[in-house]
């Protein structure tokens, strides 16, 4: 008998939620018709900024799932200064991320020393075929358009080192 007040209270909670939903609307949204904006810094898809990539392979090696595939070759670029030696640059032949394997840990984004990888909040990229979840470098570069501006630094934070 001592449990009766608690039982009645439980019934009150569900009935209260029933009337709240009926009068004020549900806590959920009807997804395909209306969409919530994902929170800032949400992890949707990883975008690649190709010009920054030096194919150093750090992301690929630090990936716990081994889902990043990189192939590159070396080329000679014209020297920066008149009369200098030609520079050696690495050019990407292949940069694939297999989203069927990716577990969205974000280690690749963290580890990249040249700011070539970014989180994008875009999340609608499911595919009917699992093979299509392998995004190649052109597709990864297209995601760059969806990457938001980096939020402003907090007051008193260290300046970004160049």
């Amino acid at each position: 008998m001592a449990k009766v007040p608690g039982l009645v209270k439980g019934l009150g909670v569900t009935l209260g939620t029933l009337f709240n939903t009926a009068t004020k609307g549900a806590s959920t949204v009807q997804y395909p018709h209306e969409k919530e904006t994902p929170p800032i810094r949400s992890r949707g898809v990883i975008a690649l900024h190709q010009d920054n990539c030096t194919s150093c392979m750090l992301c690929s090696r630090s990936c716990p799932d081994w889902c990043i595939y990189i192939e590159a070759h070396k080329e000679l670029a014209p020297p920066r200064r008149e009369g200098g030696k030609p520079r050696q640059v690495n050019l990407l032949d292949r940069f694939d991320i297999d989203y069927a394997l990716c577990m969205y840990c974000g280690i690749c984004v963290e580890v990249c020393p040249f700011d070539a990888l970014f989180w994008s909040p875009e999340y609608e990229y499911s595919e009917p075929s699992i093979a299509d979840l392998l995004h190649d470098k052109s597709k990864l570069s297209e995601w760059m358009e969806t990457v938001p501006e980096a939020p402003a630094l907090e007051a008193g934070a260290d300046k970004k080192k160049k």
Binding site: G10, L11, V13, T14, T17, L18, T21, A26, T28
Partner: protein, 350 residues
């Protein structure tokens, strides 16, 4: 012989009865699933439930039925095939047998049993057989455990249910459900007859015991150990798929509706309105329109009672198996026996 059907040839009567039975079972089941399972549960969880199929998701049930009908009918390799296939039908059969006993109006009834209460309580136990053989024939340990739990639970809660109904029978002085309805609506409380005398007031203890017992009979939470999806993977329904699962599903909610109708007949005055409103004194005075209004009144009272059943279902977590048994044997049955004692003493005294 039902006077409404007296002019119609026998085959026509049978056809009408079958159609009436189908409507009386499937219409409440569909309404309950949509209104309570789809919408009320969603609203209680602060979401909208199905919204895409038809206006406000009202055609969702047809989509679900279509989905189930086109699924493969899988039978486990080592199952007892004939019994496995028979089990859902037995469960649904008990629902159809049960609805036969419910009176829907002064002349709108399927059968007018003199011992309607006894019949209803007897056939409601047939579903236990269906559940038990479903659990056994599936050749699956989860199913077997679920079936055994169901049998233990249904037997434990059959008793308080029967004992709770006995109070009503003592008070009405009859086991005929039709006469119980008439007794409630033509009765009076303290000389005040504008409300009739619904037994939910004088038999309130019996009503509460009956509602708890049908909650357990229907294996609705918090008494859903036989189907416990998190520990027994839906118990006796584990191996069922496609339309056999559909039959179990219809059986569950149709039985909820029919049990609620029987509770409405026993405790809320069934199809009747208080006879004093229209100056009726006995069942022979009642105007013919009550045969149309009666079913609507029964269905309204049924929806009210199913609301309570579902409200409790959506609010409480599952009990433990031993708590369930202790609650029935140590709580409800002594209480129901005391209720019978008090009722019969008062019946003799007044």
């Amino acid at each position: 012989m039902n006077p409404l059907l007296a002019e119609i040839p026998y085959w026509g009567q049978s056809l009408l009865r079958v159609l009436g039975g189908l409507v009386a079972v499937l219409l409440p089941a569909g309404t309950i699933v949509y209104v309570f399972l789809f919408k009320m549960m969603s609203f209680m969880q602060s979401r909208l439930g199905p919204m895409e199929a038809g206006p406000y998701g009202s055609m969702q049930l047809f989509a679900e039925v279509g989905k189930w009908l086109q699924k493969e009918d899988i039978v486990p390799e080592r199952a007892d095939v004939r019994i496995f296939k028979m089990a859902p039908v037995i469960v649904l059969l008990s629902t159809f047998l049960l609805v036969v006993a419910v009176p829907f109006g002064p002349d709108a009834w399927f059968t007018d049993f003199e011992v309607g209460v006894f019949y209803a309580l007897a056939v409601s136990s047939v579903s236990v057989l269906g559940i038990l053989v479903a659990g056994w024939a599936s050749a699956n340990k989860y199913s077997l455990l679920g079936g055994l739990r169901a049998a233990g639970q249904l037997i434990a809660y059959e008793l308080p249910m029967v004992l709770a109904v006995m109070g009503v029978v003592i008070q009405a002085g009859t086991m005929n459900l039709q006469k119980i309805v008439v007794a409630q609506n033509s009765g009076s409380m303290f000389g005040f007859d504008a409300m009739g005398h619904p037994y939910v007031i004088s038999q309130f203890v019996g009503f509460v015991i009956f509602m708890i017992a049908i909650q357990a009979e229907l294996t609705q939470a918090p008494f859903d150990m036989p189907i416990a999806e998190s520990e027994l993977v839906s118990g006796y329904m584990t191996e069922y798929s496609g339309f056999r699962f559909l039959i179990f599903f219809i059986g569950e909610f149709a039985t909820a509706g029919v049990f609620a109708m029987i509770a409405a007949v026993l405790f809320l005055g069934g199809w009747g309105v208080p006879f004093a409103w229209f100056g009726w004194t006995s069942i022979d005075d009642i105007d013919n329109w009550m045969n149309i209004a009666g079913p609507i009144i029964v269905l309204t009272k049924m929806m009210l009672l199913v609301f309570i059943i579902m409200w409790i279902r959506f609010s409480y977590p599952r009990l433990r198996e031993d708590q369930l048994q202790r609650f029935a044997w140590k709580g409800l049955i002594p209480l129901a026996l005391a209720n019978i004692m008090v009722t019969s003493i008062l019946k003799v005294a007044f």
